[in-house]
Symmetry: C2
Subunit: 207 residues, 2 copies
């Protein structure tokens, strides 16, 4: 792309650094901003800069936060003895959006994956283990993606927690609501049979 | 989407205002920025704000510009008597990227389209007509999209230029290089036959 304006070119190049944004999309975004009023674009720019410079990670659960301790951890209405362990911030947002979980979180910051060079020491596993006794945690729910890395991470943390009296569970794996048996993979179908639940539980769980 | 951080939520909402960027994509972009260093994100933010507050439109050709007169208009190496008329800035970038055109431009800022409520008075047509005599323009090339609106615009401007001794041309319409006759629409195929070119021209034009 050949630009006749350095201002335009620099702005397009900045947008094109973002993941999944190519030069053509970047140009479309910049031309859109040019059509907006100056104060509006200044506002956009300030909100982004402020977000980056002020954002923190909760010192307790490692979720993204505006303060030292995040809104979820500091909310007295939430069950502080129930910890949901997730891989990243995106998973916290997904679970919060269901409005079905009333405990707190622990964000691992990734998942054990030797092939990607990610070992337990790069994750917040030690911080999780250190929370359990002082916080008198009653239950840890693993909400990790159902794959080998997720299972490895659950197994590793489970071993670290040996001897500590805390209930350990994982989110149910099975046929997704609206899904069809016929198209489910064998692993999922097999697990959904071996982990079958009594129908009275199924009905009382609101389905 | 439920956020536990207002800083995050505001930033996501700002990105989601951009065209073609939904909430999920906006979140992905913001989480990417959070992973970058603070000065890098400040740089991003400043470049965008600076671009919007300092960008101008060339007073001669209405192209986007860093100065009162754009780089193309003020370049003495370019043929100032050859004006290529385009709909918008994106078209200037597309033609400049071919590196085949050495004249100057005139950006209409749109195209005559009564159905969308766009009439000639909303475009820079008067400014174009006013350029021709003082600039001693020899040729105007219309590089508009080949459709009814494009043809209407060419016809309207052509009538305005009646009596002014200037050559008026349009970019060739025909079967795209690499295209197949079989799949061309009838209109394009018909025009490519009625506007056929002698083979000597075809060969000398570098193909």
């Amino acid at each position: 792309m050949v630009f006749s304006s350095a201002l335009l070119e620099n702005a397009v190049n900045e947008f094109a650094k973002l993941p999944g944004i190519g030069k053509k999309t970047a140009l479309r975004l910049v031309l859109h901003l040019i059509k907006q009023d100056v104060p509006e674009v200044e506002n956009f720019s300030q909100i982004i800069a402020k977000m980056r410079s002020e954002i923190k990670f909760c010192s307790r659960c490692h979720n993204i936060s505006d303060k030292e301790i995040c809104n979820i951890c500091s909310n007295p209405m939430r069950q502080q003895q129930l910890i949901c362990v997730v891989e990243n911030i995106r998973d916290v947002i997904a679970i919060e959006s269901t409005q079905q979980f009333n405990g707190v979180y622990h964000v691992l910051g990734g998942i054990i994956s030797p092939l990607d060079g990610i070992g337990p020491e790069q994750l917040t596993i030690d911080a999780l283990v250190a929370r359990i006794v002082p916080e008198e945690t009653q239950e840890i729910i693993f909400a990790l993606n159902p794959n080998i890395q997720g299972d490895t991470t659950i197994y590793y943390i489970g071993r670290k927690l040996k001897g500590i009296p805390v209930k350990i569970t994982t989110i149910a794996r099975g046929i997704a609501f609206g899904g069809e048996l016929e198209y489910a993979d064998e692993m999922t179908l097999a697990k959904s049979i071996s982990n079958r639940i009594p129908v009275e539980n199924y009905i009382s769980s609101g389905r």
